[in-house]
């Protein structure tokens, strides 16, 4: 077991990336480590027909055209903005893209209400400034600036959480591709001393949450400099099952848990999410739908909760009862609205189904009821 809780993608898949790089004979834009086709292969996995000597696992699940459009955008001179509901895998795709393209996915700025321009450009090491004055050594470059200097991909998470003035600092970075440092006086010998130019290969992948729309809307000048790729919530049951299985396996490996997720229970989980989504789509007001976005990530969260619970407190097997209690426990955030929805769901949908189909559903129903009783 590694001593890092969660290794970045380029470390985790280092060996795969090395191998891909070794066989890659396609044209590579700028300083990319892999050609666009190989980047796609790395993210979407290989098939027999690709004729590779080894299998490359699929790491991101979704429409391939999203990946293609994202890669192509990074090869052009625009930034990439991944937009979508929470839990749709935007950040994961961004991480995979930067790991594949520049082997560094850690040049991340996290957008928050407290993000300032310094976080995007540079800051000063105050004690060094006092000792040596303002110079390149006493400057602390931001991850974006580092990305520019190394020709790598910089990431900006939750772009719309940061305020408009901070966002607008990106405009000049994306169009001029340099940051000027007015504090450094060019001494005339080196004209570029007070300007940090971006090396070829630099680009920015930003992510934005579509539920945050209206909080800090992007200016149209910034919008122009980004290509938007909208990542939808996965509703295809088959690919969703793949995602959940993939992430759960990873999780079990990480926690070194030896526990089986029975396929029937996975079906129960997927079905219940599909039902809840359908009811949310039919709901007239916010009170009639769960606060949760019911994304795939939420689904994985529910399963993770159930697995951990069964492992540490249960009988080391995952049961429908535990799954139901995790589902209700993780998704019921408002009392009484969310609980009322679950109550309605259990009695209106699960109860008839458990009578009709049997299987794990009756146990699931009992577990759900008990949890609602406990919570209300």
């Amino acid at each position: 077991m590694s001593d890092v809780l969660r290794a970045p993608a380029e470390t985790k898949y280092a060996e795969e990336l090395d191998w891909l790089e070794s066989i890659d004979d396609g044209p590579k834009p700028f300083s990319w480590r892999l050609s666009p086709k190989m980047v796609r292969l790395f993210i979407l996995g290989s098939e027999r027909a690709d004729g590779l000597d080894r299998e490359i696992s699929q790491k991101w699940f979704g429409d391939r055209s999203f990946v293609e459009r994202s890669i192509v955008t990074l090869a052009s001179d625009r930034g990439l903005l991944l937009i979508g509901d929470p839990g749709t895998g935007k950040s994961w795709l961004a991480e995979l893209l930067s790991a594949a393209i520049s082997r560094n996915s850690t040049l991340v700025v996290q957008g928050t209400a407290g993000t300032t321009e310094d976080h995007i450009k540079y800051a000063w090491n105050v004690s060094m400034v006092i000792a040596k004055g303002q110079s390149r050594e006493s400057m602390i470059p931001s991850p974006i600036m580092t990305a520019m200097e190394t020709g790598a991909i910089g990431r900006f998470e939750e772009l719309t959480r940061s305020t408009s003035d901070v966002q607008d600092a990106l405009i000049s970075i994306l169009s001029e591709k340099y940051i000027s440092v007015p504090e450094l006086q060019g001494d005339g010998t080196d004209a570029g001393d007070n300007i940090v130019f971006a090396k070829p290969g630099f680009s920015i992948i930003a992510t934005a949450n579509s539920r945050d729309r209206g909080v800090n809307d992007l200016s149209s000048a910034l919008k122009r400099r980004f290509n938007f790729v909208r990542i939808p919530v996965v509703t295809n049951k088959k690919s969703e099952a793949e995602i959940v299985r993939f992430r759960t396996e990873e999780l079990l490996r990480r926690h070194a848990i030896d526990l089986d997720v029975p396929p029937t229970l996975l079906d129960v989980l997927l079905q219940s999410f599909a039902d809840l989504r359908a009811s949310a789509a039919a709901a007239g007001s916010d009170d009639e739908k769960l606060e949760s976005s019911l994304s795939t990530a939420e689904q994985i969260g529910v399963l993770e909760d159930a697995v951990l619970h069964s492992n540490f407190f249960g009988e080391r097997t995952l049961t429908a009862r535990t799954l139901a209690s995790s589902l209700v426990g993780s998704l019921a955030r408002r009392d009484p609205e969310d609980l009322a929805i679950f109550n309605k769901y259990l009695h209106g949908v699960v109860e008839p189904r458990s009578k009709q189909e049997g299987g794990s559903w009756p146990e699931f129903l009992d577990g759900g009821r008990d949890t609602i009783a406990t919570l209300s």
Binding site: R40, E47, S65, R69, T73, K223, V229, R230
Partner: protein
Amino acid sequence: MTGSATNGPEETAVDGPGRAPSPNGSAPASANSPGQASFAALREQLHEAATAFADGPRALEGILLGMVDDVDRAVREPLEIFPVCHHSPASALAMARRLREKQPKVVYLELCEDMAPLLGELRNCRLPVAVQAFASDVDGFPAEWAPLSVVAPITEASAEYQAIAYALDTPGVELVLVDRSSDHVFQWDSRHGERTPQDPPAPADGVPEPEAALHGEAVGVEIGDLRPRFAELEEHLLRHGKVRHWSEWWHQYVEVPLGDSDHEAYRQVMFLVGSLFRRLAPGDGDRVRVDEDRERYMWTRIREHLAAGGADPEDCLYVCGAFHAASRVEEFGVAGSGPFTISPRSATTWQHGLIPSSHAAIEAQFGLASGSVSIAATQWAKNLKRTRVQPYRLAGQDGAKKPRATKKAAPAVTAPPPEAAEDRLSGFLRRPPVLDTLDEAELLGWSVDIVRAARRSGYLASTADAIAVFETSILLAGMRDRAKPTPYDFQDAAVTCIEKDSVPGRRDVRRLVEIMMGGDRIGRVGYDALPPLARDVHDRLAPLELKLQQRGVQRALLDLSSRPELGACSDVLWMLRRLLPHGAARPIMGERKLGERSIQESWDLALGTHQRALIELGYEGVSIEQVLEQRLRRDAYGPRATTAVVLAAVEDATLYLGSRRLSDELGARALEVLAAERTADGAPEVLRRVRGLLAYYRTAEPVLPPWVESFVKAGYAHYCTLLPTAFTDEDATVGQVAAMLGFLFSMESLALSLGCDRAQLELAVAQSRPTDPERTALLWAAQVQLGALSRAELRERCGELLANPMVVPAYPRYLSGFVHALVPVPGLADVVVEAVSNAFGRLPDPVLLPWLPSLITTLRAGAADLAPLLVREAGRIFPARLTALDTWVPPWREVVEAGGPDGGRTGAAGGGSRGAALLFAHPGTLDAVAELLGCDGTWAAADDCPAGPVGAVLTARHPDTAIAWESLLTGA
């Protein structure tokens, strides 16, 4: 085509579409060996491939070699089979070329045989249109299937249109439709017995455009449905083709490579694709059965025709879907056999017509990707330009640039004998995918155009975006192993670069690209191809001088006073409004109500847009009057007809048809329905309609129609009978009971004059013992109207209710009852105003406030009838100015303060006696009335009347009136 299709599901090949497929890497086969050996090389190659790639060679070999057998068989058939795929420009191009070359004498076409007479009408239409078979009355099918509708859309860029145009415009050529009839489509429907309405497949993304619904709920039939029959194969092909949907795959891997290939290569490739999809189809029993039956049907018909006409199979061409060309049924071929008997059609009567279609409608109906038919049309135009092939086009085709004056047939080339079939497949399959070279100018044009279109739709797009779209398209195509971006790559690029977080206008970038790539084209059925009803409508609307055939909304202004001849147009328009869907004819100004006529009308007409609805109306009858009459009868005699529905039909018959005969007949029907009704459900509506009709007949006709009299009589007796139950029935609402009372009171005089007995009503009211407050209040009001209860008593009861703390909470419900009572007893308005005022004055807030919303909703529901009455009464009672309010005393208080009223009834009696004295003094009027009525009674002595201060006193005090009367009467 690349190896994707052939190697498809077996996953044998290592080729992506970008690599030259060579399943086994062996040397090219000898391509030109004639006869039996023609496909031997290919067979050998495939056999090796099967052995090399599959663990168990038998199954794979069976499929691969079976496909070659299918191709071989179809190629050898003496009657030339021309395989097509729907909406395939490559098919259309190959067809045009082949027709010019071969000049066949007979063309057999895979299209419902009963549609044949209509094809000639295509020249009057602008394509795309759909040939429709329609049956509203079904006989032999479950009744719930009705109406049955089958449509076969025809676009210009289709092989079938080429064949039709060639056959119809070339003298001596016969076109024979050989597919099963529309009737058989439903006879063979596998859902027989459990059919649900056909759900058109939802469009892949976005909101469907309104044009997508042009076909209504018809079942679509198409020539050359060619698509993998099971999802895995399609998914596999899409994945390896790096495309998103089937249309894109077909375009990329079949259309483009086939674009320039010769006839033999085209045929063989299409046979191969058809065979592949056929052999790799799941055992979907019903579907396979229907397909095979259709093939048997078609070949049986062809053989019948050949036997009857004695045509030489060499001179014939059989156009069918590639899927059917690879058939293995016994009946296959001119020499085929098999005991297939064609089942007789059912007794259902089918109507046929042409309806407008659109690319979007075709895409929606057949589950094609949105925009694909438009792209096919663009591709067709491009192919024509590039190859200089002259397409066939029906002479006089609407929308044609110019009629083709010369149809000089190219010298007929005799078809190569079937034995000489060369193996064109090996070469084709081994060829690397045809890559269109990058047409930079075209792509630049697209990029500039899409930015312009996006800007018009509200996007903040600029030249920089055009550059980005151009660059991204090339990059995307490169990633997908294409030298030239396809329209679909370009679409992706445009979405990536221009689409931001929200769509500013009505259409998103995806849709804009579709529109730009050719856009939706909507067909139009020409005048001559319209059914008689539709032509009649257009003829009758001709005085409006509008181009009603065109799509879009047009405004018609009818000044009926200065141009009375437009009245006939107005009649037609009102009927169309009644018959066609909303929006086809919409009155902006002017209305048609009983007894009213507008002097000016203005209409928004969209008959061109709703052409299908108008044409389908034509299947129901030959004139709109006839259709309307049928519909009215159907409504009135339907199993769910209620009295209100029938009365509405009577009203419509009077309004739109002006037909006394029909309205009398329907009125009689209303009487029947009323007699069978046992609830008060429809009472409010019945009351409203009967009042309206009565008012109309009283003013418009010299005597009431007999049915109205009977209806009033029967209704009076009917509602009298129902009244006591309705008062206690929990299901009947207060409004319904009030409407019953309204009927009884407002029709009373007429009913009594027709021989009804008032005692019946009095008894009914006396028998009514409601328990809930609303209905009790209603009953009290009825009693006041009948004179059984005085207003003073009513006031007293209300006062008691308010004074009793136990019933105060229920007081608002009494009030609700009183408000409803205004319908039957409008004279009670002052009492209701008083009761409401008292409620506001005396009810405690906890009772009053919760009730207010229900008062408001009641008043709103009856806004038209109740509110004006109450407001007028309140306006009369309450002071008009705020300053006057301080000194104002409500009239009911005044009466109380003045020592109490002397009671309604006694007052009335006293007044009566006072009036009698006046009558005695001036008996002339009454005598004249009595004489007129034929009464010969005599005057009783004036002394019989009680003495006292009578009306005469008043005349003495104000003599002017009486003097004026006197002078008038005496003529002085």
